[in-house]
Every structure is written in C-alpha cells, then in structure tokens.
C-alpha cells in the first residue's frame, strides 16, 4: 500500500492531481452544495456532472494534442477545424441523415489533419507555421459553409450526441471516455506510442533504428484532426447551432495548457494521456469554480496566463538551476 502510494507520488500525474484535489476542496468549503448530485427524470445533475460534461470537447482535443506535442510538434489549427466541422455537420444535416453527416464531418477533420501533416512531414515546414495557415483560413471556410450565419440545428437525434443522457449520465461523457480508451489502446496495444516517444526524444536515433518519422507525423496530425472534428460535433450538438466565429475560439490554447499541466513536455518525448485528462479537468474545474464563486469570469484568462507561465518555468532547466542556486546560497548564508 505504502509502496503504491510512493509510486504514485513519483508519477508525473501526482502534482496536477494534487492541484485538482485542492481546487475541489476549495470548492467544497466555499460553495455549499458543490458536491451535491440530484436525480431528476432519471438523469443526474450537479456541479461535478456539469464539469464532466463540459470538459469533453476540450478533453478530446487535448488528447489529440498530447500525441502531437509528444513528437515535438504543435497544432494550433484545432479551434478552426472544430469550427469547420461544426459548420459542415450543421449544413449537411439539412440534406442528409445524422450518421452520414457525422461521418462526413469526421472525414473533413481527417483531411484537415492530413493537410497539416503533409505540410509538416513532406514540406518540412515548422509545425507552428504550418498549422497557422489552417488556423487563419479555417474560420473563413467555416463562414463560407454557414454563409456567415449562425446555423441552427433542429434534429433530436443529432442533439442527443451533445445533450442526451445515457444511464443517467450525459452522453458526451461516454464519447470522451471512448476517445480516451481508443487512444490509450493505440498507445498500449500498437507500437504507435513507442515510435512516437522515440521520435519525440531522439529523432536521429529513431531513424537509425528504422522508425519512419514521416508516417508517424501524418498519423498523429490526422488523429488530432479527427479529435477536433469530434469536438466540433459535440459543441454544435450541445448548443444546437454552428457559429463559425466563436465555436472553439481559443480552445487550442486550453488544449496546450491541459497537455502541459498533465506533465507532457513541450520538448516532446514521453506523453501522459492520464495527465492530460487531469489537466483538462483542472482547467474546466477552475472555470466552473470562478463562475460559481461569483468572481468576475473575466479573470479566468489572467489566471490561465499565470498558470501557463508558472508551469513552463517549472519545466525550464534554467529556472531550476536558478532555484537551486538560490537554495544553495541560502544554505551557505545560514552556515
């Protein structure tokens, strides 16, 4: 038991987990009824359920982003891809059935990811710059699809995806779990995880061992594209509309933040899917906390900015050196 605890402390997930628990404890003390879950019409309601439900789009995108960051890349086009797929799904629903609309939306996400992957793997454009193109054009394309309007969706079957309940829990939670499960399976039951971590750690050693980086890069960006598409479907279904301008605005930043909080380094290498889940939950809980405590919600952005810088500083070797020096000096002056 003690051994297990010690092992847990050693993992990268430990500190984000502590932060999340701390946040929940604050909520418990400050907000009465935060942990209360009520049953209405056979559905569960409550702040916790709400957090779990709302976090799903961010979580799905962050999981895709985790893979991208593991190979020392980044995908800042996910917000735009989300908007495109949301718009596409909404507009397709006017003419086709729900499964086809969803399928086509996923294919569009895949194509967006493939585009990014080709630019990065074959034209060797830096990931930030390559995905910048789609980030800029994407919202324009989304607006093109929606005709500049906010498309409303009146389809109960589609609405079930983002708003429905299954066995008392919001259906979106199951989708989040499914995506997490599939990617976890890819990591544990195929060599994708091994190759990805190998490329992210040491590209030339990996090439010498016969790993083909281009193939992996394509796969990873395509997964990120599909994840963005899933998030797009969830968001549009949940609010019953597709807003080309505001759907998924800045979600790329939240996703990067979730990944980094979860312990995956921006320098690539080892990645932690569980950590990303905790990171995403932390961000969503933070937002919910701020809303429900009655603090002006505008402060969220400032808090996020400070959290990003702090986490990055803690990962920075230069900063660790500085801290070590300061500690050492203190010791010397005490002696």
């Amino acid at each position: 038991m003690r051994q297990a605890l010690n092992n847990f402390i050693q993992t990268k997930i430990f500190w984000p987990f502590v932060a999340l628990v701390l946040l929940l404890v604050i909520n418990f003390i400050m907000i009465p009824g935060f942990f209360q879950i009520t049953v209405k019409n056979g559905h569960l309601f409550g702040s916790l359920i709400d957090i779990l439900n709302r976090v799903v789009p961010l979580l799905v995108i962050a999981i895709g982003m985790t893979l991208v960051i593991a190979k020392e890349g980044i995908d800042i086009s996910v917000g735009s891809v989300l908007a495109i797929t949301a718009a596409a799904a909404a507009s397709l629903l006017q003419t086709t059935s729900v499964p086809i609309a969803i399928l086509l939306a996923l294919v569009i996400g895949l194509i967006c990811g493939l585009w990014n992957g080709i630019l990065i793997a074959f034209l060797e454009i830096q990931p930030m710059i390559a995905t910048l193109i789609l980030m800029t054009v994407g919202r324009g394309i989304a607006q093109l699809i929606t005709g500049g309007q906010i498309l409303t969706i009146n389809n109960d079957a589609y609405g079930y995806v983002g708003k429905g309940f299954l066995l008392g829990l919001p259906f979106a939670i199951y989708i989040g779990l499914a995506v997490f499960g599939i990617i976890l399976l890819l990591k544990k039951k195929t060599a994708l995880g091994l190759f990805l971590e190998s490329i992210g750690t040491n590209m030339s050693s990996s090439k010498f061992a016969g790993v083909q980086p281009k193939k992996i890069i394509l796969i990873v960006y395509m997964i990120s594209g599909i994840c963005a598409a899933i998030a797009g479907i969830l968001v549009s279904s949940n609010v019953s509309s597709a807003d080309a301008n505001n759907a998924g605005l800045w979600i790329e930043l939240d996703a990067i933040l979730a990944v980094v909080i979860g312990g995956t380094s921006m320098r690539g290498g080892r990645f932690f899917l569980g950590g990303t889940v905790i990171g995403a939950l932390f961000i969503q809980t933070l937002s919910t906390t701020i809303y429900s405590m009655g603090i002006r919600p505008e402060i969220i952005m400032v808090v996020k900015a400070i959290v990003v810088i702090t986490v990055c500083l803690m990962q920075s070797e230069e900063f660790r050196k500085l801290v070590k020096q300061l500690k050492w000096k203190k010791k010397v002056s005490e002696a």
Binding site: K189, T190, A191, L192, L194, F195, E197, S198, T201, N202, S204, S205, S206, K207, F208, A209, G210, V211, Q212, K215, G269, R270
Partner: protein, 509 residues
C-alpha cells in the same frame, strides 16, 4: 621564457565527468610557424583548443600569450586577447553579406550610423591583401561555396587576431584546389609572423603545410616533433600508440569456417564528398574490418551500407538482390543491423527504458500494428540483459541512467533481437570500460562462429587484428588495400595507413 613563443600552454589538465580529457599537457606555438595538432578520437585535441579559446574552463595549468599570463573565460574574451579560431563548421551568419560577416560587432561608423561604403571597401581590401581573393563583398555569404565562406571566416579571424590563429579542421569540406588556395593563404600569413595552429585528419596535408607537429593520445602529450624529422609511419604509430616493430598480434582465432557465398557485395559504391568508390564483399560468418584513421571514410561507408546516407553511384548487392536505394527500414528487412559510432546522438533514445530501447528495431521490423505483447517483450529484454550481462536493477530503468558500456550493450541487444544476418559495429568499444570491451569482443567472435556476418570498425588496431578475418584499409576517403591471414598485423595495417598500398592507389589515379 623564450620570447619567440607566441602562445604557450603549460600543464593543462581538464576532466569531464568520468573522463580525464587532458592531463598535464604542454603546448607551444612559435611566431611564424604552422603547428599541427594530431591525435585520434578522444586524444584531447578539441578539448585543448576549447581551453585555449576560452570555451572550456581548464582545471589546472597556465596559458601565456606573448609572456603574459592569460585566462580567457569566454570565446569573446579570447578573441579580444587576439586568439581567433575558425571552426570546421563555419561559424558565420550565412544570411549577411561577406563584408558584414567580417565586421559585425565592429562596424565602421560615421555620424553615429554604420558606414557601409567604408565597410565594403575595407572588406574588399582585406580579402585582396591578406588572402588574395577577389569577390563581391556585398553578396550574401550563402551565395558562396564553403571554401569561400571558410576564407571569409579566416579574414575575420585575421583581422581580429593579434598573431594567433587556430584552424580547426578547415579542409574537411574543401576540394584539392581549394586546399591549395588555403595553404597559400596560410603560408602568406605565416610569412607575416602569424602563428597558426592547424588541426586536420589528412596526413598528407599535415606533412605538406606544417613546421611542427604535436601529438596527443588519450589526453596525454606524446611529444612535439619537427615535421621534417618525422616519418609518416612514426606519426601514425605515435597517434595509434604502438611502437614500430613490436610483436604484432596475429589472429588467435581458429581457421575461418565461413563459406564462399557472399552475403553483401558493393561495386564502386560511392557518395561524392563523403567516400570514394569502394568495393567490398562480406561472406556469411565473416568478420570484416574497416581500418583507417578518423575521417578516413570508415563511418561513411557504414552509413552508406545501412542507407542512412544514399549513394550517388555504384551497386549494392545483398543476398544476390541488387538494392536500388537503401534506407534503414529496408536494411533492417534485409537483415542488417547497425550500432552507430555516436552512441548518445544516434544510438540510445534517452527517455525510454532499457526494454523499450531493446525492442525498438525489432518492432520497426514487425511493423507498427504488429505489436509485440508485453509478456514477450519482457522475455526478450530479460534474455539479452542476461546474455550480454547488462548491469541494471530493472529493465524499466531509463537507458540514460546506465554507464556507457551498458548503454552500448543495450544497443547491441537491440540489433541482436532482430536476429540480423549482418551486424555493422562502428566503434562499439569506444569510451567504455575495459571489462565491457572484452565482453563485446568475445561476443563478436561467438556471433561470427554462429554464422553472422560482421562489419567491424575500430580505432584500436589490436582489437581489429584479434577479431577480424580480413581488414580493408581506408585512407583519406579512399579504399587503399586489404590484408588477411598472416599479413594482418598491427604493424602492417599501420604501414598501409601511413604509406598506402602503391598498387591500389595507382589504380585510382
């Protein structure tokens, strides 16, 4: 102290974690001389230069510049004192103009703004007068060849320097005429009283240009010699470290058991600027050695065979199939394995565990979706950890935490796990402890006895003689000869490296 010394370093010592890079080394550079610094890998040449130029801090010793004690702490400070260095990789900014590269940080100014006209004129004059080259100094540096870039770097160095110039492998990317031109420049600078330290792997060049030669080996000073009193053979033996005529280790192994069927064969395989046409054949169960000094083309050949670099010309045949374009993935499929020379950069994947590092090549061979179950992975990893005697508390340790020798064994295990038909070992015993060295040698012989072909590259000639069935000798990127059986001895190999095999060389010309 004699005032004819430009630069004098005494009792320089420097240790890195785990390695004594320099111990008690003296070095003197006189006015108006070209002084070569020679040594094999790990001899301490680059460390000595780094100490002299302030990039590395020395642990012990003193440096005098024209009888003044100096202690440069940064590259900038050394430059200010008048010690300028031109590195192998040209350290200039390709995006700037030639003139700017010479004067950046010291641009001539007029009324507070940079005087471009003056700068162009001065640059033009400098290049013409001290280097005798006439180029458009307004052009960006990137539009010129490496040779000219090197010249520009030298021009900058000469302009800053007050008498000491260090050229660290300036010729490795130049062709013949360019080398000649560089030597003219060096002679010209020498006649003006400048002291030049010259580092090169090319024996011919060293003998052509230098007045004195200092030899280092394993971080120790072997000696300082006048070039005209030193023969090539002497130099090679001093660098490699066995005195001439010493009883040469002939093979202790039993008579070769390998068949006549060749596993891999090349016909005039070459890559321009890296290795000249090479013909070699490796038979099943044979240990073939590639001998030569650093930079002679041994690693380049290995990389060509494994498809890390692609060849321009020539034919590569494996198992009677001609391979059009090789890549590492294909090489693994064909049964090749490659332990690279630079273990840290090209071998280990630092963040991953020992098990994962062992499985990497086998997994790429099997493909991404044909995942090896964890249970099997553990069995395989455990098997090689025991077989190779890898010392680690657990296979789930990060490979970074192992010692050099154990890391090397993990890389070996990675390839052995793929059950290769040909294993290329580039300096597998470099920088590792004596015990591991012996174990790896023993393993090579065992593997060959089981029928595996091995291409073995090592700077330690005794090791090559002890392990190889046949040795191909390379010099200055040319294949110059081959030794086998009784002929294969340390002294014969050295002689061939130094003097070349006349017949073969004549054939190339």
């Amino acid at each position: 102290m004699n005032s004819e010394y430009m630069l004098k370093a005494e009792n320089i010592s420097k240790a890195f974690p785990g390695v004594k890079a320099l111990s008690d080394v003296d070095f003197c550079l006189r006015k108006g001389e070209i002084h070569s610094l020679m040594g094999e890998n790990g001899a301490g040449k680059s460390t000595l230069i780094k100490v002299l130029t302030g990039i590395c801090e020395k642990d012990q010793g003193q440096i005098f510049l024209e009888n003044q004690l100096i202690n440069p702490g940064t590259a900038e400070e050394a430059q200010r004192l008048g010690i300028s260095t031109v590195y192998q990789e040209v350290n200039l900014c390709e995006n700037l103009s030639v003139a700017e590269n010479i004067f950046i940080g010291r641009e001539p100014k007029k009324k507070g703004k940079i005087d471009w006209k003056e700068m162009y004129q001065k640059a033009d004059q400098l290049l013409k007068e001290s280097l005798n080259i006439d180029i458009d100094v307004k052009q960006t540096l990137s539009s010129y060849s490496t040779a000219i870039q090197q010249m520009v770097a030298i021009a900058r160095a000469v302009d800053i320097s007050s008498g000491v110039l260090i050229l660290d492998e300036p010729t490795s990317s130049l062709d013949n005429n360019e080398v000649k031109k560089l030597f003219e420049v060096m002679r010209n600078l020498k006649s003006k009283g400048m002291g030049i330290i010259f580092v090169s792997h090319f024996l011919d060049q060293v003998f052509e240009i230098s007045d004195r030669i200092t030899v280092l080996r394993n971080g120790q000073l072997i000696g300082e010699y006048q070039t005209n009193q030193l023969s090539r053979t002497d130099l090679v033996s001093k660098m490699i470290g066995k005195e001439w005529g010493e009883s040469s280790n002939t093979r202790k192994k039993n008579a070769p058991k390998f068949g006549e069927r060749s596993f891999l064969r090349t016909n005039r395989l070459e890559k321009k600027g890296s290795i000249n046409p090479i013909d070699l054949t490796i038979k099943k169960g044979e240990v073939l050695g590639l001998a030569g000094l650093l930079g002679s083309g041994r690693t380049e050949t290995a990389k060509l065979l494994f498809g890390i670099d692609s060849s321009d010309e020539g034919v590569l045949v494996i198992d009677n199939n001609e391979i059009k374009s090789m890549n590492p993935r294909l090489a693994i499929e064909k049964g090749l394995g490659f332990c690279p020379e630079d273990r840290k950069v090209e071998g280990i994947v630092g963040e991953l565990t020992i098990r994962e590092n062992i499985m990497l090549a086998l997994q790429t061979k099997k493909g991404m979706f044909n995942y090896i179950p964890m249970k099997d992975q553990r069995v395989i990893a455990q098997k090689y950890i025991e077989l190779l005697n890898i010392k680690t508390p657990s296979m789930e340790q990060r490979i970074e935490n192992l010692s050099g020798g154990n890391q090397q064994k993990v890389i070996l295990a990675r390839w052995l796990a793929t059950n290769p038909k040909l294993l290329i070992l580039d300096e597998p015993t470099r920088g590792i402890d004596v015990g591991s060295k012996a174990e790896i040698r023993k393993l090579i012989l065992e593997l060959a006895a089981e029928g595996m072909s091995i291409l073995f590259i090592s700077a330690e000639l005794e090791e090559m003689v002890a392990c190889c069935d046949r040795v191909i000798v390379l010099r200055d990127r040319y294949q110059i000869g081959q030794l086998e059986g009784e002929q294969m001895s340390v002294s014969n190999i050295m002689e061939m490296i130094a003097e070349g095999a006349g017949v073969v060389e004549a054939g190339i010309k």
